[in-house]
Amino acid sequence: MRKWISRIGVGVIAVLVLVAIFAPWIAPHDPNAYNLSLKFAPPHAGYWFGNDAEGRDILSRIIFGTRVSLGIGMAVVGISLVVGCAAGLVAGYAGGVIDQIFLFVTDTLLAFPSFLFALAVAAFLEPSVINIIIILCLKGWVSYARLVRGQAMALKNREFVLAERAIGASRRRICVKHLLPNMAGPIIVNASFGMAGVIMIESALSFLGLGVPVDTPSWGAMIDQGTRYLLVASHLSIFPGIFIMLVVLGFNFLGDGLRDRFSPRGR
């Protein structure tokens, strides 16, 4: 059962990644083509998910929206991972004053709820994909950094590290070649749940009109438009929501499966 859950997760994510890559070839219509004669049309032949308030094809917008969600998710998790690992390794390995400063900065950032922090910064910026990536990275790196710091502190006095030091290996070599590979498991698990979290917050900001620019096909923004016409055309918000759920579910399934695999008790 457990094994199957993570396989389903991998399957869902793989399909969505392929959809994102091949979006222009898969999408049946131009996602931004207006067609007012089809305004609010319910699902029908040629337009399987129906049309939105401007008559645009909802399926095509969802397909292109995959690029936005996964792209922002990967960028944010990627940047946060690199920054977080670097900061965590330095703090955990060096200790002392550097570690104190590190704890001070991360404690302060952790004092804000993630969504509120993103919302507070987004309120003062123009909506754009780059801005949203920056906003989510501002706090995103902290969880990886804390994780890596803890692991680095636990590992740095183990025999294999001491042996490396004894033969004169540089700090950088020890960190990159020995410490990082030994903590890869929990980092990957965290990254998988992190993708789910980032995609959720990005959609939520776009739902509030503070995420990606208005015409970019984004699932969150589509739900926003849908809720305004909920009584007239409920299909506007139903379909994009299902896709957010699928992708978040996929990464949560994957994270659960990976955690079972990497944790010694799970074997």
Binding site: A111, L119, A204, I223
Partner: protein, 305 residues
């Protein structure tokens, strides 16, 4: 014990100070002139100058920062640009509704999640267990800004049994609190299940069974009491998260709380109120988390400090 609590309470002050500092600088570091954001670049120079004067933007940033902290210490968060009312007054007016919604969501998620978690643990590896845990995984993954509209569609539009929005009667509390509490319920049921499975394996449970207690008593009187400890902690820590989570739920249901105030003020470019609301929620988050931590440590005899 007492020294631990004193230490935690004292450590609140630097954190709150830093939170206030960050909220101030988010406003001042982010590119873009606040005057442009509020009245637009085309406004008359005289109007622009007056607004800048009103906002204190002509002073050096550090002077503004000192003013801001000084006023904040006495509870003054400034004046709304939209209606001239004090920000603190706005927050006072709205906080009750937000608190009500958060408590209702907490209540609903507890009465759903704990029985579901116990049931799943007792019937471990059965179809019921799998179904409950699948529901929980879906609950964690469903965005509340989608769940809300779907619930409205089903219960208000099609079935017509619950109101769409407003705060007139207790029935109008049901949909918002389910929307807000769904993710928490999902998480709690998973926690309850895991914690119960651990306890049901313990020796004292075998003993209780061996002396002939009914299965019901074994589960509810013996195992559950011990399993509840970690669950209660999580519930406490989630109070604060729920408070932040009300923002979107309030928007969907037109709930007149701090979340709606915050989003409306972002829309109106009423930055003093935005700043005040962000500060209020962050402060509440920090203070509640610290309190829960202290209370938990005070009541659990296993934690010796």
């Amino acid at each position: 014990m007492r020294s631990y609590i004193i230490r935690r309470v004292l450590s609140l002050f630097p954190i709150l100070f830093l939170v206030a500092t960050i909220v101030f600088f988010i406003h001042h570091i982010v590119p873009g002139d606040p005057v442009d954001l509020i009245i637009g670049e085309q406004a008359l120079p005289a109007d622009r100058a007056r607004l800048a004067e009103d906002l204190g933007l002509n002073e050096p940033v550090l002077v503004q920062y000192k003013d801001y902290l000084g006023k904040l210490a006495s509870g003054d968060m400034g004046i709304s640009l939209y209606d001239g009312m004090s920000v603190a007054g706005h927050l006072r007016e709205r906080s009750g509704a937000t608190l009500l919604l958060a408590c209702a969501a907490m209540f609903i998620s507890i009465i759903i999640a704990i029985p579901a978690g116990i049931f799943a643990a007792v019937k471990k590896d059965s179809v019921w267990d799998s179904a409950a845990m699948l529901a929980a995984l879906i609950g964690i993954s469903v965005p509340n800004f989608w769940l809300g509209p779907v619930l409205i569609l089903v219960f208000s539009v099609h079935l017509g049994i619950l109101p769409i929005s407003g705060i007139d009667s207790w029935t109008s509390l049901i949909l918002p609190s389910v929307t807000l509490g769904a993710a928490l319920a999902a998480m709690l049921s998973r926690m309850t299940r895991a914690s119960m499975i651990g306890e049901l394996k313990a020796d004292y449970v075998t003993t209780a069974k061996a002396k002939g207690l009914s299965p019901r008593k074994v589960v509810l009187k013996h195992a559950l009491k011990n399993a509840l400890n970690p669950i209660v902690t999580i519930i406490g820590l989630q109070v604060a998260t729920l408070l932040a989570g009300t923002i979107i739920t309030e928007k969907i249901f037109g709930w007149p709380g701090i979340g709606t105030l915050l989003l409306d003020s972002i829309g109106r470019r009423d930055y003093p109120v935005v700043q005040g609301a962000v500060l209020f929620i962050s402060f509440a988050y920090v203070v509640i988390n610290t309190t829960v931590d202290c209370v938990y440590k005070a009541f659990d005899p296993r934690i010796r400090l």
